[in-house]
C-alpha cells in the first residue's frame, strides 16, 4: 500500500503540474486574445472611436442674433427687445409633465390658456426642445421658482429678449408683430439661420423686413457632459445682429391722426411728397401687438377676429373703398389731357343724367342740380352730372388707361406685405371675371368713383402725391434708412416711375380747382381753410349700399353702419407740396365734414410744427 501511495503521490504531483502548466498557457493565450482586442480597439480603430468620443462631447449651439430695432423719423423707438424671464419645460427631461405643471401652478400663476398653448407648442417641437409655458415672469415669481427648482427636473427659468412695441396699438398695423415660428413658416425659412430663433415677423414691417431685422445666426462649439450640460465653450462665432430700421413715420402725426379719427373706424395715409415716405399710416381700430408676441390666448384672438370693427384688418393697405368723388380731379385731368373737355367749358346739370335713349336716371348728389358748371366748379362743388358726361365722352378704355397711370387698380408697391390692389375696372377685366360685356352705364359710375371702382387709402394718398408732384411718381415706402450693425446707414431705394409728360397748364388748372375746394365759397371742404398755408383737396363720399331708383335718401334713418364712408384727399402747401394725405372715415357721412378736418390737423402738425 505505501508503495502505491508513493506512486500515487508522484503521479498526482505530475498530473497537477501538467494541469497547472496547461492552465498557465491558457491564461497567457486568453490574455493575448485580450491584448489583441485592445490593439483592435485602440490602434486599428482609434480614429473611429476618437471621432465618436469627440461627437459625444462637442456640440454646436446656435447663438441667435438680436433682432434689429425700429425707429420713427425722429429716433423714437417703435420696436425694441426687452429682457424677460420665461418658464420653459423640456419634455424629455421631465418625468411627468402634467404633474409638474400642476405643481408649478401652486407656485406661479399658470392659466389653462398657458397650458393649452404649451401643449400646442409641444406638438410642434421635438422632445428635447425647451418649450415655454409662461413668459414675462414677475421678479417674485422668478425668486419663488429658483427656491424650489430642485423639485422640477427639466424645468428652467430662461432669460430671453422679448419683442416689445412701446407704441402698442398706435403702430400695430404698420409694424405688425413677431410671433413664434409656425410649421408653415418652417417650410420656407432657412432653418440653420433660424436655429436659435423662436420668433419671426408675422405682419407689417416686421414681416416685410424680416430678413434684415433677423440678422445672421452665430455658432458656438461647446463641450457637454453626458447629461447635455454645457461645461465650456470651445469656439465662438458671434451672431450678426439684425439691421435697425429708421422709418419715414412721424409718430406725432400718427398720434394726431388717431386722435382726429376719434371713435370712428377708418384709415389715414400721409406721404412725404419729396421722398414718397409714409409719414402716417393709420388703421382704426387697432390691437395690441404685444399680445401676439407672448402668444395670444385663443379667447382674446377670437374676440379680435370676430369683432364687427375688424381690428386686425389693416384698412390702410387692405381696405378697398370706392374712392367716390376723390377721383374727380384725376378724371378732369384726363378730360383736359385727351382734349375732350376744356377747363372753362360748361355742362348743364339738372340733378340727373340720362344716357341717350335710356330711361335710367343717374342722379347727382344735389337733387335739384348744379345748373351750368365748368370744370373748376365741377371739382369745387363735386358735381356728379359733369363727370357722368365726361366719363361717357372719354369712354372706359381711356379712363382706365389714364387712371392706371396714377396707380389705381394696382398695388402701390409699398414695402409692406399684404397690400391689396384695389380695382380699376376695364372692358377686359369685366370680360375675364364676369364674362360679360362692358355696359356704357358702368362707365358713368366709374366717373364718380363708384361701382366696381375700389381703391385703398394708401393708393389714394400715393395718387394725390403724384398729382401734387405733377406726374412725378415716387413709390411709397415706409423704411427710410437701414442701419447696419457696423453703423453704416443705407437709404432705402427711391423708385421713380414718372407719368408720361402732360401739359403743365393742365396740372395747374386741376390744382387750382382743388385749392378752390377749400378756399372757394361753395367749396365742399371750406371748413378747413388755413391762414398759414394753402391746401388743395377733394372730398368724397362712398356709398356703402346703393340707393334705389327714385328712392329718397335720408341720412338720419340709415343705421350708422350703413352710412356712407367719408373720404378726403389733400396736399399742402399748394405752392411747394410737402405732404399728401388720404383719409377714409368709415360710415362718416360727408367727406368735407368729417374726413377733411382730420387731414387738416395732420397738416397743421406737419407744416406748422417749427413755428410753435
Amino acid at each position: 500500500m505505501p508503495q502505491s501511495s508513493i506512486k500515487d503521490h508522484l503521479f498526482e504531483s505530475q498530473l497537477f503540474l501538467s494541469r497547472a502548466l496547461v492552465s498557465g498557457i491558457l491564461v497567457i493565450m486568453v490574455l493575448m486574445v485580450l491584448a489583441g482586442r485592445m490593439f483592435y480597439l485602440q490602434v486599428a480603430n482609434h480614429d473611429h472611436f476618437t471621432t465618436l468620443s469627440k461627437d459625444n462631447r462637442v456640440k454646436l449651439q446656435p447663438l441667435p442674433p438680436t433682432r434689429g430695432l425700429i425707429y420713427d423719423r425722429n429716433g423714437l423707438i417703435l420696436a425694441q427687445n426687452l429682457p424677460a424671464y420665461s418658464l420653459e419645460i423640456t419634455p424629455e427631461k421631465t418625468p411627468d409633465i402634467n404633474a409638474t405643471i400642476e405643481a408649478l401652478r401652486e407656485i406661479i400663476n399658470i392659466t389653462d390658456e398657458h397650458v393649452e398653448r404649451f401643449q400646442r407648442l409641444r406638438r410642434q417641437h421635438r422632445r428635447f426642445d425647451s418649450i415655454p409655458i409662461r413668459v414675462r415672469l414677475q421678479e417674485d415669481e422668478v425668486a419663488r421658482l429658483s427656491v424650489s427648482r430642485h423639485r422640477f427636473p427639466g424645468v428652467d427659468v430662461k432669460a430671453t429678449l422679448l419683442r416689445d412695441y412701446p407704441q402698442a396699438m398706435k403702430t400695430a398695423h404698420l409694424l405688425g408683430y413677431v410671433g413664434r415660428i409656425n410649421e408653415r413658416e418652417l417650410d420656407y425659412i432657412d432653418t440653420s439661420n433660424y436655429s436659435g430663433t423662436s420668433y419671426i415677423g408675422k405682419n407689417g414691417v416686421e414681416k416685410s423686413y424680416e430678413s434684415l431685422l433677423h440678422g445672421q445666426v452665430g455658432l458656438q462649439q461647446v463641450e457637454v457632459n453626458a447629461k447635455g450640460r454645457v461645461l465650456r465653450v470651445l469656439e465662438n462665432r458671434s451672431p450678426r445682429p439684425g439691421d435697425n430700421l429708421h422709418l419715414f413715420l412721424d409718430m406725432e402725426l400718427q398720434r394726431t391722426a388717431l386722435e382726429a379719427l376719434g371713435d370712428n373706424n377708418g384709415a389715414v395715409a400721409a406721404i412725404e411728397i419729396k421722398s414718397g415716405g409714409v409719414l402716417t399710416l393709420v388703421s382704426k381700430p387697432g390691437y395690441n401687438p404685444n399680445l401676439f408676441v407672448e402668444g395670444i390666448s385663443t379667447e382674446a384672438y377670437t374676440a379680435l377676429k370676430n369683432s364687427i370693427d375688424k381690428p386686425l384688418f389693416n384698412r390702410a393697405i387692405r381696405g378697398q373703398y370706392p374712392p367716390g368723388s376723390t377721383v374727380k380731379p384725376f378724371i378732369a385731368l384726363a378730360g383736359l389731357e385727351y382734349g375732350v373737355a376744356g377747363y372753362h367749358q360748361e355742362t348743364y346739370c339738372p340733378g340727373y343724367y340720362q344716357l341717350p335713349g335710356k330711361e335710367h336716371k343717374y342722379r347727382d348728389w344735389k337733387k335739384w342740380g348744379h345748373g351750368e358748371v365748368d370744370m373748376e366748379e365741377s371739382i369745387v362743388e363735386s358735381c356728379d352730372v359733369y363727370y357722368y358726361e365726361l366719363a361717357r365722352t372719354l369712354g372706359i378704355d381711356r379712363l382706365h388707361e389714364f387712371l392706371q397711370g396714377f396707380g389705381f387698380g394696382q398695388p402701390t408697391g409699398v414695402d409692406l406685405t399684404g397690400e391689396l390692389s384695389g380695382l380699376l375696372p376695364s372692358r377686359e377685366w369685366k370680360r375675364k371675371t364676369r364674362r360679360e360685356p362692358w355696359y356704357p352705364g358702368e362707365t358713368l359710375i366709374v366717373g364718380i368713383g363708384q361701382g366696381y371702382y375700389l381703391s385703398t387709402p394708401l393708393q389714394l394718398a400715393a395718387a394725390t402725391a403724384t398729382l401734387a408732384n405733377q406726374g412725378h411718381h415716387i413709390r411709397p415706402r415706409v423704411v427710410a434708412t437701414i442701419e447696419k450693425p457696423d453703423g453704416t446707414a443705407q437709404p432705402s431705394p427711391k423708385i421713380v416711375d414718372d407719368l408720361q409728360q402732360l401739359e403743365p397748364i393742365h396740372w395747374n388748372q386741376i390744382i387750382d380747382a382743388m385749392t378752390e375746394v377749400i378756399e372757394g365759397l361753395r367749396g365742399t371742404a371750406r371748413s378747413i381753410l388755413s391762414e398759414n398755408y394753402r391746401i388743395a383737396g377733394k372730398t368724397g363720399t362712398a356709398q356703402v349700399f346703393s340707393v334705389k331708383q327714385d328712392e329718397e335718401y335720408d341720412e338720419e334713418t340709415v343705421a350708422k353702419r350703413r352710412r356712407d364712408h367719408a373720404l378726403f384727399i389733400a396736399f399742402a402747401p399748394v405752392e411747394d407740396p410737402q405732404i399728401a394725405i388720404a383719409v377714409v372715415v368709415e360710415n362718416g357721412g360727408h367727406g368735407g365734414a368729417v374726413a377733411a378736418p382730420i387731414a387738416r390737423k395732420i397738416m397743421d402738425k406737419y407744416l406748422l410744427r417749427d413755428d410753435t
Partner: protein, 379 residues
C-alpha cells in the same frame, strides 16, 4: 499521504531555502505582496481620476484595502491543515446561509443577495468563491486522483448547488465566478480531457435552458451584447460608451485625469465595473499592457505557488484560487471590451467596492499561508 511525511520532506529539500526575517515571520510572500500592492496603488490612482478627483472614494477604498490586506495577513498565519479541517463546515454553513438569503434576505437592485446579521450586512454568495474550492479540494484530496466518476459527480453536485442558489438571487456574476472556482478545482484535480470535452458540449446544449431560466434584464444583456447598437440609449449604451472610451485612448492614452468619456460622465459605472475603460482611455494600450502584465505576474506566481504546494488539498486550492482570480480579470475585461456580455464582475483589486476586494485578498492570504507553511506539514 498522511503516512508519508518524510518522503514529502525529501521533496522539500530540493527547494530553495525559505526566506527569513519579518516577512517570513508574518508568512508573507514578497512577490505576491508586491504585485498586489502595485495593483492596489494603481487602482487608487485610477479611482481618483474616475471619481472626479475627489478623495472621498479614494479614502473609502483605502480603508477597504487596509481591511483586506489585514485579513490577508491574518489568514496567512493560519496553518493550511486548519483551513482544510474547516472546509466542509464552511461549505455547509454557506449553503444554509444561501438558503436563508432566499428566505429572508435583503433586496437590493432587484436581487436578493444580502443577509442582515444585525451589525453587518453579509453576502454569503461571496464566501463561496473561497469555500467552494476549499470544499472540493478537501473532498478530492482524500482519495486517489484523478477522481473516480462517482466522486466527480459528487464534486459536480457540490458545485452546482451553490451556483444555482446564487443564480437564483439572482447574481449572475458571482454565480459565474463560484462555478468557475469549482470547475477550476476539478480541472486541476485532473479530470480527463474527454470528460471536459463532454461537459463543454453538454453545457453548450444547455444554453437554451439557461436562457429560459434567466431574468429579463439578464437576457437583455445577452441580446445587447450580441448587438450593442440595437439599443444605443438603453442597455447597449454601456458597451458602446465603453468601447468609445477604450478606442479613443489610443496607444498612449489621453493622460491621467484627462479622459473625456469618464470625466464628462458618458461612461457609466466608471468607478466600479467599467473602471478598465477609464484605464484604457487615460493610459492607452501601453498602460493596459502594463496592467495585464501585472495581473499575469500575480496569476503565474499563484500557479507557481500551487506547483510548490506539498499536498493535494493545497495544490488544488491554491491553483483554483489563482485561476478564479484570472476568471475575474477575464470576465471583467472581456465585458468592458465587448468580448463578453455585460456581467456584473468587478476588475479585481481596482474596481471600487469592498466585498469582492476582501474576498480576493483573503484568497491570497490562503495562498500565502500554504506557501509559507510548507515545512510545517501535519504529522
Amino acid at each position: 499521504m498522511r503516512e508519508m511525511p518524510k518522503s514529502a520532506l525529501s521533496f522539500q529539500e530540493s527547494q530553495p531555502a525559505r526566506p527569513t526575517g519579518l516577512l517570513a515571520w508574518l508568512h508573507i510572500d514578497l512577490p505576491l505582496l508586491t504585485g498586489l500592492l502595485l495593483l492596489s496603488a494603481l487602482g487608487l490612482a485610477v479611482l481618483y481620476s474616475a471619481g472626479d478627483q475627489q478623495t472621498t472614494l479614494v479614502n473609502k477604498q483605502m480603508i477597504r484595502l487596509g481591511v483586506g490586506f489585514t485579513a490577508m495577513i491574518l489568514i496567512a498565519q493560519i496553518p493550511p491543515q486548519h483551513l482544510r479541517r474547516w472546509s466542509p463546515w464552511l461549505y455547509l454553513v454557506g449553503i444554509l446561509m444561501l438558503v436563508a438569503v432566499i428566505l429572508v434576505g435583503e433586496q437590493g437592485k432587484g436581487a436578493q443577495r444580502w443577509l442582515d446579521l444585525g451589525i453587518v450586512r453579509f453576502q454569503p454568495s461571496e464566501m463561496f468563491k473561497l469555500s467552494l474550492p476549499m470544499a472540493i479540494a478537501w473532498f478530492l484530496a482524500d482519495h486517489r486522483l484523478p477522481p473516480s466518476l462517482s466522486r466527480l459527480l459528487a464534486a459536480g453536485l457540490m458545485t452546482l448547488v451553490p451556483v444555482l442558489l446564487i443564480a437564483k438571487q439572482p447574481d449572475l456574476g458571482t454565480a459565474l465566478l463560484v462555478g468557475a472556482a469549482g470547475a477550476m478545482a476539478l480541472f486541476l484535480a485532473g479530470i480527463s480531457w474527454h470528460l471536459i470535452a463532454a461537459v463543454g458540449l453538454s453545457l453548450a446544449a444547455l444554453g437554451p435552458a439557461v436562457w429560459y431560466l434567466m431574468h429579463e434584464y439578464q437576457r437583455q444583456r445577452v441580446l445587447t451584447f450580441l448587438n450593442p447598437e440595437s439599443d444605443p440609449l438603453g442597455t447597449g449604451y454601456h458597451i458602446i460608451q465603453s468601447k468609445i472610451a477604450i478606442g479613443s485612448g489610443g496607444i498612449g492614452g489621453k493622460g491621467w485625469l484627462n479622459g473625456t468619456q469618464s470625466h464628462l460622465e458618458f461612461l457609466p459605472e466608471r468607478h466600479t465595473d467599467f473602471i478598465f475603460a477609464v484605464i484604457s482611455e487615460e493610459f492607452g494600450l501601453v498602460g493596459v499592457l502594463a496592467l495585464l502584465s501585472l495581473y499575469l505576474f500575480i496569476i503565474l506566481r499563484g500557479l507557481y505557488i500551487a506547483t510548490q504546494a506539498q499536498d493535494t488539498f493545497s495544490r488544488i486550492l491554491t491553483g483554483a484560487l489563482s485561476l478564479v482570480f484570472f476568471v475575474y480579470l477575464f470576465v471583467n475585461t472581456g465585458m468592458v471590451t465587448g468580448l463578453l456580455p455585460v456581467v456584473g464582475v468587478p476588475l479585481p483589486l481596482i474596481s471600487y467596492g469592498g466585498t469582492s476586494l476582501v474576498t480576493i485578498l483573503i484568497g491570497f492570504g490562503i495562498l500565502m499561508s500554504i506557501h509559507t507553511h510548507r515545512k510545517l506539514l501535519p504529522t
